[in-house]
């Protein structure tokens, strides 16, 4: 049985086309992926992201516990700050990529992928069980107690103050800087608002109890519509994140792929002390990797590239060198784009490659990440 978010009835009313994603029944689109995508690039878009998981980690040992598991340095966060980080196994493979927010130095909110909730919770619990100071760490899976909405796009800052008019810690909602989080009030109830997102645009993510999701959604829809805001499904969420080369677990990331191979080494803090997977990541950073995540654009007129399509080298002695992990038609650029893993020697920007689409190879070229950049 697929799980439904508190906004399920709202999606039905808005005519959302529902599909399965990570065990959840979620809208893939309301009208058109292209229209929704362009609304986010040019104005604003509203996403239900309640399928994502939330873990609360608190106590005087919480920071040290998380720093022994996550790749980024959680000690860099002061109260009200968040960071992108990854959790690896002993082989350096990614168990999940996530957002860690420091609510206060003894209280962290972790936002994880919907499809990885069970694995993450099992891993965190097994690590907690062997953590020396486990009596100073409280670990709670609060995924069912929270839902979340993302509102993204260049026009969002113009109308979001209408939804959260009151100040939090002497700051209005638009005072939040990228990756900051604060507790605001909605109809008197506490709501977390973070200036984060998964689209490459300015935007906010709102984390709160299930009962507030529908009223917040409706109020955002009403306030945003004069600015061109549209409800957006997972289809647009995927094309938006692919254009800016944000990894999606199960595509760019899995337990056999390291953050170094995936090109997110920036979020691996080698200097912070030991953490699980560190030795493998240090070795790869020093000596290189066998595979590398690259971004590419189709240079021939072709069908859009899709996950699992083979990647070939170009030229008279062409051979299969890798596989596409994400691919689509770029609504912003009107060309086929994607990401895939290839040996590092093929990873240089400008390298000609070919993508095999239904038995036929079409020309593509390695491009700089992100594929789409705001002009």
């Amino acid at each position: 049985m697929l799980k439904r978010t508190p906004l399920y009835s709202t999606h039905q009313k808005l005519g959302g086309k529902l599909i399965e994603f990570g065990g959840w029944e979620m809208p893939v689109q309301y009208t058109s992926i292209v229209d929704e995508h362009l609304a986010v690039r040019n104005a604003a878009g509203l996403f239900d992201i309640s399928h994502m998981g939330e873990i609360s980690v608190s106590g005087s040992g919480a920071g040290d516990f998380l720093n022994s598991l996550f790749t980024n340095n959680i000690r860099k966060l002061t109260a009200g700050q968040g960071q992108y980080t990854l959790m690896c196994n002993e082989r350096g493979g990614v168990i999940d990529d996530l957002y860690a927010y420091c609510l206060d130095p003894n209280n962290f909110l972790i936002i994880i992928n919907a499809s990885r909730i069970d694995e993450d919770v099992a891993w965190l619990q097994s690590q907690w069980a062997t953590f020396a100071r486990r009596d100073e760490v409280q670990l709670r899976n609060v995924s069912d107690q929270f839902g979340a909405i993302a509102v993204q796009g260049p026009k969002v800052a113009k109308f979001i103050p209408e939804i959260f008019p009151e100040k939090a810690v002497n700051a209005v909602v638009t005072d939040l800087k990228k990756n900051q989080i604060a507790q605001f009030k909605f109809e008197g109830e506490p709501v977390y608002v973070a200036r984060t997102g998964y689209t490459g645009e300015d935007g906010f993510e709102i984390v709160t109890v299930p009962e507030l999701l529908i009223p917040i959604w409706n109020k955002l829809l009403e306030a945003g519509q004069p600015f061109g805001l549209k409800p957006c499904g997972l289809g647009a969420r995927d094309t938006l994140r692919t254009e800016v080369c944000y990894p999606l677990y199960g595509h760019e990331l899995d337990e056999a792929t390291t953050p170094i191979e995936a090109g997110v080494g920036f979020f691996v803090a080698m200097d912070k002390g030991d953490f699980i997977g560190r030795s493998v990541l240090a070795e790869q950073r020093a000596n290189g990797t066998k595979k590398k995540l690259v971004a590419f654009k189709m240079t021939d007129k072709s069908a859009p590239p899709r996950p699992h399509y083979p990647i070939w080298s170009s030229g008279p002695e062409a051979s299969k060198i890798g596989e596409v992990v994400s691919g689509t038609q770029s609504p912003s650029l009107s060309v086929g784009i994607g990401m895939g893993y290839v040996p590092p020697e093929f990873g240089k920007v400008g390298t000609a490659i070919e993508i095999e689409i239904r038995g036929k190879r079409s020309a593509a070229a390695i491009v700089k990440k992100p594929i789409y950049q705001k002009s």
Partner: protein
């Protein structure tokens, strides 16, 4: 939003339409199908001269999200393809029964057309 189902065409369960003139059938995808796919970005058509059997996958329509096979509702030889829709796949969305047609087949078994769905039956299927 209700889809158009022109009364002068025959339909396949797999959402293709067929317009018969003499022994040549013109084939495209229905308004309902284009609406379900949305944002068609690529159309791959069969080669002229290819012989197809009824029910055989012979074209591919790609939307932003996914690739979908298009099946030939009838058997015969491909005699013409619509280059305009290959160049401008959005015609599939804007004119599914007009400029967005896909290909023409010289019917090998004209009787096959009789087993296709009537506009009324197709309307019921998508209703």
């Amino acid at each position: 939003m209700s889809s158009q189902v022109p009364s002068d065409l025959k339909y396949a369960k797999s959402h293709e339409w067929v317009r018969v003139a003499g022994d040549v059938a013109t084939i495209g995808i229905t308004d309902h199908a284009q609406h379900e796919l949305t944002d068609v970005v690529f159309v791959e058509l069969p080669a002229v001269g290819r012989k197809v059997k009824a029910g055989e996958a012979c074209a591919v329509v790609e939307s932003v999200k996914t690739a979908s096979d298009i099946y030939s509702p009838v058997s015969g030889e491909i005699v013409e393809i619509n280059k305009a829709v290959a160049d401008n796949p959005a015609l599939t969305n804007t004119a599914p029964y007009g400029d967005g047609w896909f290909y023409k087949v010289k019917l090998a078994q004209p009787g096959e057309v009789n087993s296709l769905l009537s506009p009324g039956d197709y309307s019921k299927q998508i209703g």
